[in-house]
Symmetry: C2
Subunit: 185 residues, 2 copies
């Protein structure tokens, strides 16, 4: 239990005792559900998002714009973006972020399949939606270099979060918000 | 003491007892400093930022770009933007945000002097740097309508704060970050 993310020794003990108190039939059902979920869920062969079928529901949805690819680090980011209900294109999940210290380079990520998609399909725009951390910025610049020969490459905007306050925003974010200012009409 | 911002009954008591324990000369000096600061500090007649002179140091600095005005709600926002060391133009402090519920309209703020500045001086761009709250958005749209006849009007970017994580960003901010995406080169 302690190996689960966000579960420390105390929580692990609480969870373990809860399981021990459950009737055996429920524990069996729970264990079965875990194995089932693991066995049935694979990765979409196209975008590498979690999927029960070889091609995920987003990739096979013909109502979505297949000329637009949004590149994210993780399947969780797909879910975050889907919650906005604003984006109607496709995704590509990298499966992580480049990190030379941990030995993670482009080869360990789904970069090559992305380049193949962009170069072979009729892609009008690639949106890089990678978190603005140090590693994320490196990854964004790297992907831009690799992809810009094939199509238009954009990145999501950085600036003040909605509802945020100018006074309490850090200087780097403020500087980027100023640099990224947009004309009003 | 309780009337000071962010000071509750307990803190007020602590501050009061601290003052009572100080030697009288120091209390005299402190009181004098407060009065002095209040008497010497007024508002810049041009941009309404706090200033000891009729024209503040920013407005009278000839190294700064006098064709660019950044509009903010409060003097504290000027200080926040100055800390970025990125902005080299002028400012205009509105002195608050429009709020119909509290009876604050454009007439209660320094909107008219701003319109006069923009219409009479050779201003190339007005940057609206107002916090993205409900009132702030209304204020931004209002100023855009009033000013766009005279010059180019831009607003600071909204999106992910630098160092932020896609997964933990609220949906509205994510949607705006997507909508405000910019091309990489």
């Amino acid at each position: 239990m302690q190996r689960l993310p966000g579960i420390g020794p105390k929580s692990a003990q609480r969870l373990a005792f809860y399981i021990l108190k459950l009737p055996e039939s429920e524990v069996q059902a729970f264990a079965k559900a875990l194995i089932n979920a693991k066995q049935r869920t694979g990765l979409c062969t196209k975008c590498f998002h979690f999927s029960e079928k070889p091609i995920c529901e987003i990739c096979s949805n013909t109502n979505r714009d297949s000329n637009l690819i949004c590149v994210v680090a993780d399947s969780r980011d797909v879910i975050a973006l889907e919650k906005t209900r604003e984006y109607k294109g496709m995704y590509h999940v990298l499966g992580g972020i480049m990190s030379p210290i941990d030995g993670i380079g482009p080869e360990q990520l789904n970069v090559e399949p992305l380049v193949r998609r962009v170069s072979q399909e009729n892609i009008k725009e690639v949106i890089l939606a990678i978190s603005p951390t140090v590693e994320g910025e490196t990854m964004t610049l790297y992907l831009c270099q690799v992809l810009k020969a094939f199509t238009k490459v954009t990145r999501i905007a950085f600036g003040l979060p909605v509802g945020g306050d100018l006074e309490y925003t850090d200087e780097i974010t403020l500087a980027r918000a100023l640099a990224g200012r947009q004309e009003l009409s």
